[in-house]
Symmetry: C2
Subunit: 755 residues, 2 copies
């Protein structure tokens, strides 16, 4: 894995502090740590977040992921001058995130206002092995003369979520004149947090400690000769009461146990965990565009950082653990955009993500009941308790003073079926019957029961009224194609799994079968088009080029009200394309093409979930070049030039979509109906793609070129379908693509060879 | 008043951001506004405070003065560069606070990192006329080329008190595309705050508004030609639910009414209020040291800024309205150090300060009862409710994890008598019988009843055990001289006033007289020394020179525990000297000298209240040179060079003490027992001192030189005692000092001429 790419920040830009704080954030699924500089900047949002550590600051606020007390900030004075990159001159600045081991390194030379030069090297990592461990190291070398260095750092609980404070400071301590510890309790008393820190400095350094105004601080002061480094290594241990065996004194003991190994050894042990992750998940492409590999490494780095492999009570927030956007809430993004990657590389993590929903069934049942439905209606936004966390009202309209009811929680019900879809692909990929018996079948049945009760009878057929599909620019419509097809799929899955795995429940099965026989599934018209909903085709269109040029910014809402947008053929993301992505076997290649061509010009792609899915569907249509354009654009959602694209956190689902685009789109590896399917469609720029995955317990390495399919199976047999042919691979085998597909139009597009 | 001094900051120093934010803070008794720069700095504590607007963030926290949403901060970009004085080069920087009208002006030239120069002028004031009104103006002139200027400013409710949030954002609005308004409620729902703001910019400026994450922001963008100014005038109106006629829409109307007059006219009208203040209060000295006049102007500027002339429900916090030190709580400082100034210059304000205590009698009675006493035991630290706000436990000892009980609230009872002392001087100075009938006598009687119950009988005499005097380095002692004498004074005052003004209460009078006849008053020994308490003289002494050299820092507590300090003759401030200051008629000049000489070497002056009082007593001993040294040192408590001397707010009592030192010490104007007394003792450096005051409704201007006493009475007759002689002045009269006093030792010291 020595060839893993780096993410570099080549110069210091005060306008991009938050972009890079997000892009280069550290994470291990338990903790997330924004890549803020040691020295503070007023425009920089510092942040450390712990998976599942949510709190609601007051009755008028929304539950949010708590921004924890800060352990990385350092106030640095060099010969009495406050160190900040805003002053003096910055020379040879470079910051790099090493995807291979998660270490962030910043090297620079600072020509201070007094004319003296100092070399400063800052390093840090969040351990991938000991999830509570944060290590950082700073080395300051005066280049012109001996220097007096002072560093004040500690545990800073003045941190808030934009001014909302969630924590009471219960206790601050210094043990044995060296170990700092702060214990904090959420205002509602439900959770406790313990942060312990230790700063290692040269013995002759003077240290003093003080606690004031929610800050526990160690003040270190020392002299250092010209050319020698003043070094401070800070080790911090973050623990919370949701952890197993949590106790503040145990947390201190864990910290103390990290002191002896020291920075390098702790980094090595963490790097080993990273190595094993990359080995089992890294997608390697041989592309003419270096950015492709970097985008994939970036995506997979963050997919690791955000995925809580340690707990079934946590899931993945819309911004992972990198920022406060969407308050750290969990959406359908997790099941549809993030679960597939985990499923094929870390099935245990995928199991945990689904278990999170199972643990929260009570909230989903309660929400269904409150809304007059049966079964489980999962919350549109979910946090710790499984209750609906979507604010009831949108932010105030500052011009009118009115607050609109938030429609998503009331009508964006497709996530119920999305979860069911995920349960099915999980079982297909893992064959985990224990999960299905204990949890999966219940999830399928309860979600199916919701749909059975949700449908209404119109002239003898069942319809689903007043919903919002994934396209949130079109609200309160009837028979949204995505929703109806997915609801059907949900109920059909429930029937199949109940019959196969559970005690037959006659009443449920008969209700479900009645639903399936009567539910209206919008059909393609003569032009092969499926209407997004009952009313869609009757609405007028407008030229969207202006808005497509600013996609992601929701600029349309500056010119039109939501109500006006709702009455036009304007899509945030395309529901029918999304549906064809989810259930590809239901639609013909002609239908894919026709709908892609119809809906894409009407889609602004204001959702970060849009582009990559279009890419996969375009690839499945055989339009590899178009797919590649979509995919490359999707790769720039966070990595692009826009200085504020991800200030409040990474687009978590978009990182999952980068993987989806490469694996499902270009490698063409998809989970079908009971089988794994392969249909490679490599972009011209790519000579090869190589990807590891696990299918039903079998580890596989798949390597594709434009001519060959190489499959290497660690043990056992991999059964899969390539094109229209079933193959079973034992050991390593290489196939010729031309044995499975024939080229169409000589353009690299392939058609299945009939077996 | 055109010769009022200025307070200048001659250069930008990132280490002194908070010192100057305090020194140059604006205030009008209703609002206080730290002098923070428009652009933010991470080390700068921004702050706006409203008198009486307290809240307790949670059960484990202490009630504190709420740091309100910020209206002054501006994010400024000039040709895309973020404006901060840390970057580029700052040329011709100068910030000045004009004491005459309270206007703060900053002028500078900024050579930006891109090599272009911009002239920036920032002005602001808090209206002394319309107490809710904050005005600020910024003018930016590009000097080298046309420039693009963007300013983002609004109402920023991410502000906290060191991370403690007190306010819910109830509503944010933009009315008529121009008026911003935020309504905030304390977390406990008890108080509401409305902030309304309007930004006036040139018509061609583009403005947009947005509300996010507790910030309501106006974003202004415009181009300006080389040499022309981009100007933004921001007018804000701060109102709260404790105000009369408070309503958010009324607040908006008030703001709108300020738009037409504009900055200059609003400043003029405020300046008129300042002018009248200075006319009725300014002390003018003709000194060889310019710093003396500046210190007096500084002190009186802040005395105006901190004194809530608008409400009887507010008093003066230990840091006024300039910072969060002592959580904005009210101590005995107000009655002893701040009331005398108001008494002689703004008697209505003095009445309000005493009424604050009267309104809070219920809390004082409850505290007495809880502690097993009768009468009124006022809280050591007071806020809005009159309940004891002193935290029960001190901050955690970070080494041991222990919290000590805070002794002050339990035993520092002298403030009860201090309040009684203040009621008496108030009546002497004003002759306000209505106040005494309604409030004053009750205060005297209830405080007296406390002492009657507080004393214990020991061998037939009454003693007061287990108290803390003003010297907080000596705790839990018996018969603290200050306390016993002041308690006696308190009860004697109660007897006198009850007999004179109230229905005779036979039982109280007889109890009180018994108390007075039996209370032990520590007597001077052969050396004329009065023991600070029963045990004081038996304790060992140590050399304090090391600690006196760092006075104000409490450095002694780094070397000795509080318990150890308690067992030595080590004083934070000298109780016996303080006592002689308070009740001077009880002690002989020899006793004053002997005790000053004994206690001063044992006093570290770690309290900001110490030096100036020593100065007054030294002056009364005729030691003018020593007194002047003490006084000049006292003037430097905030104004001195120490960069962090007043980061968390002004030493409010110390500003009162600057006035006390000049007026009571050097002019020698004191309120005696039923009469106004004058005994001038001008320092050698001073040619004259001139001061206005009001005595029993009569406005007087007193001008003293080393030779003459000029008294000018506006109307009526002023009766006073000069030295040992009674005089009655009508109109203007000038006396020769030599007619009243004879020089002693030719050193400028005077002795009374026997009449």
């Amino acid at each position: 894995m020595s060839n893993l790419t780096l993410l570099s920040e080549p110069y210091f830009c005060p306008h991009r502090l938050n972009k890079y704080a997000t892009l280069m954030a550290a994470g291990n699924g338990y903790l997330g740590l924004r890549a803020c500089h040691e020295e503070a900047y007023t425009d920089q949002t510092r942040g450390m977040y712990l998976a599942g550590f949510y709190h609601r600051a007051s009755a008028t606020e929304t539950t949010e992921l708590v921004n924890l007390p800060d352990v990385l900030q350092m106030r640095i004075e060099l010969d009495g001058q406050i160190f900040t990159l805003l002053s003096g001159t910055v020379v040879n600045y470079r910051r790099e995130l090493n995807f291979a081991n998660g270490e962030l390194t910043r090297r620079l030379e600072w020509l201070a206002p007094n004319g003296r030069r100092y070399r400063i090297v800052c390093q840090r990592f969040l351990s991938a092995k000991r999830l509570s461990l944060v290590c950082s190291r700073i080395a300051i070398t005066p280049l012109d003369d001996a220097a007096c260095v002072t560093i004040s750092t500690g545990i800073d609980a003045t941190q808030t979520n934009s001014g909302r404070q969630h924590l009471n400071e219960t206790s601050v301590r210094v043990f044995e004149q060296r170990y700092l510890q702060g214990v904090y309790t959420t205002l509602d008393g439900s959770k406790e947090l313990t942060i312990s820190s230790y700063c290692e400095v040269a013995p002759q350094t003077e240290s003093s400690f003080y606690a004031k105004n929610r800050r526990l601080t160690q003040h270190c002061q020392g002299r250092v000769a010209k050319g020698e480094a003043f070094e401070l290594v800070k080790t911090s241990w973050i623990a919370c009461s949701s952890d197993e065996h949590y106790r503040p004194d145990a947390a201190l003991a864990e910290l103390v146990a990290c002191v002896a190994p020291g920075y390098e050894q702790l980094l090595s042990e963490s790097a080993l965990s990273w190595q094993s992750y990359w080995q089992s998940s890294r997608v390697v492409v041989n592309s003419r565009d270096d950015g492709d590999q970097r985008a994939l490494d970036f995506a997979l780095y963050h997919l690791f950082a955000m995925t809580p492999g340690h707990s079934e009570r946590c899931s993945i927030a819309a911004k992972g653990l990198t920022g406060e956007g969407y308050k750290g809430h969990i959406f359908w993004d997790t099941e549809v955009f993030l679960l597939p990657f985990n499923l094929l590389t870390r099935p245990a993590a995928a199991r945990q993500l689904l278990s999170y929903r199972w643990h929260n069934l009570a909230g989903a049942r309660a929400k269904a009941l409150e809304n007059g439905y049966q079964g489980a209606l999962f919350p549109w936004e979910s946090a710790w308790s499984g209750e609906e966390e979507t604010p009831e009202f949108a932010a105030i309209n500052i011009r009118t003073g009115l607050r609109q009811k938030v429609a998503s929680a009331l009508a964006e019900h497709h996530l119920v079926a999305d979860i069911a879809w995920a349960v099915d692909v999980f079982f297909q990929a893992t064959g985990d019957k224990a999960f299905m018996h204990e949890r999966g079948v219940t999830l399928l049945k309860e979600t199916a029961r919701f749909w059975i009760g949700r449908a209404v009878e119109v002239n003898g057929r069942l319809e689903i009224h007043d919903v919002i599909g994934p396209d949130e620019y079109t609200e309160h419509v009837n028979n949204n194609a995505y929703t109806n097809y997915m609801a059907y799929h949900n109920v059909a899955l429930a029937v199949a799994y109940v019959q196969r795995l559970a005690n037959d429940d006659g009443e449920f099965i008969s209700q479900a079968k009645d639903f399936l026989s009567r539910l209206w599934l919008p059909q393609a018209n003569e032009a092969q088009l499926i209407g997004q909903d009952d009313s869609f085709f009757s609405k007028p269109t407008i030229d969207l080029s202006k808005y497509k040029a600013q996609q992601g910014s929701q600029a349309i809402l500056l010119d039109y009200s939501r109500a006006e947008v709702n009455e036009m053929q304007i899509l945030k993301q395309a529901d029918v394309v999304m549906l064809m992505y989810m259930l590809p076997w239901l639609f013909t290649p002609e239908q894919l093409e026709a709908n892609l061509d119809y809906y894409e010009p009407r889609t602004i792609h204001d959702s970060s979930l849009s582009k990559a899915i279009h890419g996969v569907v375009a690839a499945r249509c055989g339009r590899t070049a178009q797919a590649y354009r979509f995919w490359q654009q999707a790769c720039l959602i966070d990595l692009g030039d826009e200085p504020h694209s991800c200030d409040d956190g990474i687009h978590a689902a978009a990182t999952g979509a980068i993987w989806l685009g490469a694996v499902q789109g270009f490698a063409g590896l998809t989970i079908g109906q009971g089988e794994l399917c392969l249909h490679p469609r490599l972009p011209e720029n790519w000579q090869s793609i190589s990807l590891p995955f696990i299918w039903q317990g079998t580890s596989v390495l798949l390597t594709l070129t434009h001519e060959t399919i190489a499959v290497s199976v660690a043990s056992g047999v991999l059964a899969m379908r390539i094109g229209e042919q079933q193959v079973a691979v034992r050991g390593s085998e290489t196939f010729l693509i031309s044995d499975f597909f024939t080229p169409v139009n000589g353009s690299g597009t392939m058609q299945e060879v009939q077996p």
